[in-house]
Symmetry: D2
Subunit: 374 residues, 4 copies
Amino acid sequence: MASHKGQLRIGLIGTGFMGKTHVFGFAAAQRVFDLPYELVLHTVADRTDELASAAAQALGFQKASSDWKSLVADPDIDVIDITAPNAFHKEMALAALAAGKHVYCEKPLATTAADAAEMTRAAEAAGVRTQVGFNYLCNPLFALARDMIRNGELGEIRSYRGIHAEDYMADADSPFTFRHDPVGGGALADLGSHALATAEYLLGPIASVQGDAVTVIDSRPDGKGGQRAVEVDDLGRAFLRFANGASGSLEASWIATGRKMQHDFEVYGTKGALVFTQERFNELNFYDMADKQGRRGFRRIEAGPDHAPYGLFCVAPGHQLGFNDLKAIEIAGFVDAIAGKRPEPFSFRSGQRIQELVEAIQRSAVEKRWVETT
Amino acid sequence: MASHKGQLRIGLIGTGFMGKTHVFGFAAAQRVFDLPYELVLHTVADRTDELASAAAQALGFQKASSDWKSLVADPDIDVIDITAPNAFHKEMALAALAAGKHVYCEKPLATTAADAAEMTRAAEAAGVRTQVGFNYLCNPLFALARDMIRNGELGEIRSYRGIHAEDYMADADSPFTFRHDPVGGGALADLGSHALATAEYLLGPIASVQGDAVTVIDSRPDGKGGQRAVEVDDLGRAFLRFANGASGSLEASWIATGRKMQHDFEVYGTKGALVFTQERFNELNFYDMADKQGRRGFRRIEAGPDHAPYGLFCVAPGHQLGFNDLKAIEIAGFVDAIAGKRPEPFSFRSGQRIQELVEAIQRSAVEKRWVETT
Amino acid sequence: MASHKGQLRIGLIGTGFMGKTHVFGFAAAQRVFDLPYELVLHTVADRTDELASAAAQALGFQKASSDWKSLVADPDIDVIDITAPNAFHKEMALAALAAGKHVYCEKPLATTAADAAEMTRAAEAAGVRTQVGFNYLCNPLFALARDMIRNGELGEIRSYRGIHAEDYMADADSPFTFRHDPVGGGALADLGSHALATAEYLLGPIASVQGDAVTVIDSRPDGKGGQRAVEVDDLGRAFLRFANGASGSLEASWIATGRKMQHDFEVYGTKGALVFTQERFNELNFYDMADKQGRRGFRRIEAGPDHAPYGLFCVAPGHQLGFNDLKAIEIAGFVDAIAGKRPEPFSFRSGQRIQELVEAIQRSAVEKRWVETT
Amino acid sequence: MASHKGQLRIGLIGTGFMGKTHVFGFAAAQRVFDLPYELVLHTVADRTDELASAAAQALGFQKASSDWKSLVADPDIDVIDITAPNAFHKEMALAALAAGKHVYCEKPLATTAADAAEMTRAAEAAGVRTQVGFNYLCNPLFALARDMIRNGELGEIRSYRGIHAEDYMADADSPFTFRHDPVGGGALADLGSHALATAEYLLGPIASVQGDAVTVIDSRPDGKGGQRAVEVDDLGRAFLRFANGASGSLEASWIATGRKMQHDFEVYGTKGALVFTQERFNELNFYDMADKQGRRGFRRIEAGPDHAPYGLFCVAPGHQLGFNDLKAIEIAGFVDAIAGKRPEPFSFRSGQRIQELVEAIQRSAVEKRWVETT
């Protein structure tokens, strides 16, 4: 689908945490990057007219709608941006693809890998551009880390450790939500997916996994005065084998009391190592065996203009990007892909891959055996 | 000056580091906050038509001008935003005030306290709202720190340590710029001003100072193949006495090799202490004597929705604000002040105060004596 | 065996890294603690008379011997301290036990769990006191952590993460040693044993494990100009189930480039969490849900006199213990046990347990299945 | 004075915090270092026979005495070790020097610089070896830092920041002690002395100072139910000029709530920088401009065998020294000096220098002017 006279008109479905974050990202991306299109906040859809109108006003959309289907069908809209609950992603995306729209969908792409695959097939058949929102990958220091790994600064990669732990489900009295749905729910799906995306971003394909999954809080308030059984994992773990020969491990937890954003990785190679925590995501720690003996140590690299696209946000180093800036980078990549300026940063196919890995770990945990993932 | 039908139309002068940061801030503030006005990027001025037009396109302004005076006089504009070099602040601001505009001026307000005082008088006579850009103060954790100090969580405050050190002037081969101008230049003026603003933000008025100022690099390339003598300080220090009885110290350096953003403070009271570094500005370290013996320690508080207005940017804790987000908070405060919703967060009078403190320290250093500052 | 007139006479076998550390520990323990015996460095044994005599002089022993068997048989000696290579532990310990000596043996107790069990049986039949050297457990902050877990400060424990990673085998050109011996060698045995000891020290018995083991460097120089195949693991990992219901993970690596002492643990409970790294082993980070909202954070507790027996080393907090001080604490515990003042801190039975866990993980990795460990 | 047949017989006066630390240091130094003498704990003196006997037993001295004068006169003793309260240092040291003993005296050497000078003259006239206990200087990473500064790794040194802050006097209800004595008391004398010793150790002579001194708690319990006025500083600060041209600052506080051991320094040069805190004294952070652009950052060097004499304590890096180990290093240096193997590490003359600097800062604070210190 062509854009409209240099504009890219966006239809947003969903106005929660991620809906707002996307809108902030559109605003920042438009200013910070030299985008090939003007981004236009065209229509926002929410469950009722009232909610949609309020959202349109608050978020700056021209129109509001309580009918996502008409939004998807609107010929004036170029991009459908889906931030609705996970269970709706598939239906919405397929409708948008059928209407020939570019589709930007929050992670996870779908609640099952099979659904994700169907969505990928539809996207590729439609010939449009797609994007799944794995924002942590958009950190300039992730690009630096990947560059360092690829260009051999760490030597041969031997081992990897990845974590994504938070505590927003640590309270057993917090209610049952769609994130606890037996289909598509659980910490591995919600947070492990981020850890998997980071692992493959940095080291390339994971070849096989051995999983572990634990349900710690086995029932939660159902919102009607009762309790509802929970089947999904609160904790997930995996051993990993990468296609490049390295081995690793991964952990996902949404009950890690005190942790707000422990999206960490450690990469050990023959010539050096990298240690990162999202808790301080403007820093990357690098150990270089080439340093003089007696002077070696983990070096705290602070993000700066040397690490594109940081310099577009701020010409001075050490000033730091925020979480919403990562979303702006994500959006700029998608917009560039729509204009054909570069490949899709994280397409539906990539999102499908993450779903497959999540399910492989879940299946491995149940079947208590290694599962191939290539 | 009334706004234009719910709009606040902005005329920006200057398109460098801070000009861009302001534009990013306008974009984010509009989306993140429920502002009383729609912010309109009306006109941008730069030195030539070409530069101004390019900036207008890149930054999203409706109009461009190579004549800041006509911009200031344009009746369609409500707010004049000055990010030009410091030496121009006074003339531009006085012209804007004469035209009845609200004025937003980057720090330092002027190159001398006398000029700043003249600007303050003009602003107060004009009855408009003014703002000076001390963005670090807009950190939600600064508000937390001030609240904790004011509500007695630290007990009686006894001592303070403030630093602002960077290294962007550490290279003796970096050329002479307006920041080295004998009038208004130097590390104390450029960075010490931030440290002073933070000190008074947290502890209230500084009553007297004993200064120290050192020129380390006494000449720099003049850009014409020669060298030009430098008279301003590369390093400034001060002992402080606060009106509340506490004592403290302060340091400013722009030659602190390796430091990119060491805007730090430490506050020690009878009941607790706070330790902060801008290098990790989403964290505030708090020591609480009320903690049980054997369990005490500096507690790393991560910014989250408990610390307004963080929650408007992100509903989840630990995701982190970026430098540009601080500017958005600064702008939101100014816009609210224009609408009469709250006092000016950091008016010309506040900016003048900082200039006076800077000059008091400089004078004290020269005269080698304590100088009163109340 | 009775001590000799208030003395405890020590016979040391082995004078390498751990031999020296033990001697430093004896010296410190004697001064720092109010021990029930005077420790006497009686005899040291090494491979030749020359080496033994030199060691006796350097380390302060009264006598030297090139025959460990005569040392073990010497009726003037009360305690046999074994720091010889792992493969000799069993023979030496059994001889010492047969001679009725108390036995202090460096970890690992033996190269196989079966040997360790034989040693335990002999020790318990002899009725003497035994000790295996798991020094990290002697950190006063480990005792604090265990107390906090036991007294409910963290609530119900849900998850655990344990690591012991160093890089002393990261260089593929470092030669084949006894640590690479197929019997008893490998990172899991050498370092994973520490991580296992810490895990059970803190959370109690591990009920089952799923292991992973990887040989990264498959041959090393044999010291004769050739290469020798390596079969043991350079990296070991495990999923854990504790008897108390918590789940966890564990990693051991001796090829973690840049890591010198990453003996870390993280414990997450319903009311709080603990995070520790041996890289800063005088600090324990504690997150307490009971802290006031908006003031919560990981609290860096620095070791001090509140954390016994720190105060015996230094009356002032924050001054820090060193690695050798941990050994002194270990020794004081053993000496007290010999005097009947308290139970053995870490007996042969405890050492056997660690061996069994190591083998369970190794077996699990080979057989690719969960293995019961209770 | 010759030692006694290869022995160095020590007479200790004072059995408090530092007395014990010295004894621990003697024990460790004897084992860890290849000392030229056997250290013999000969006699300990305390105020009463009972106290002295108990100390002798607890600390391992052969004899006890309630008369320090007879201890000093005992011809069997080679070294007099003074850890009594500061006010007694002079009389004891002069008596010891008159008896021809080597003298080891805790810091501060005396309560006034004049007294310290008298002691220095007596020491140099006696031709014996002397030592003042500035233990922090004995950190292997201090030697590394000094080496790096001297060999040009940081380029030309431009600025310095030194701190020593603790909180052991933060409680206004803690009683008046000798540390509050108008002669020789105060935070500058007690802790600032450490900061000064470190500053000159690293950068060489301080040429002039501008001081600041504040009494925060102006009376304390006198131990008899009343209050006693306090005149000495709780907080001291100074601007510094070094003979090498660098400028700097210094702070001492014993009321820094939460701080247990903030003995910090930061050194900024043209080619690099060092940042250190005693809170993590086994780490030195080094920023190297020679690192590749985009890869620069403060590098956390962990102490190891590359940093002598760490390797004598432990052959493996990252295991960490403790506070008592620093004392052992201090003692080994003194013993070597007695044997003529190397210059006195920190003689009475050095101790006198520190007293002079402390008084210069105090005088400068009172007179509110810069004071020359060379």
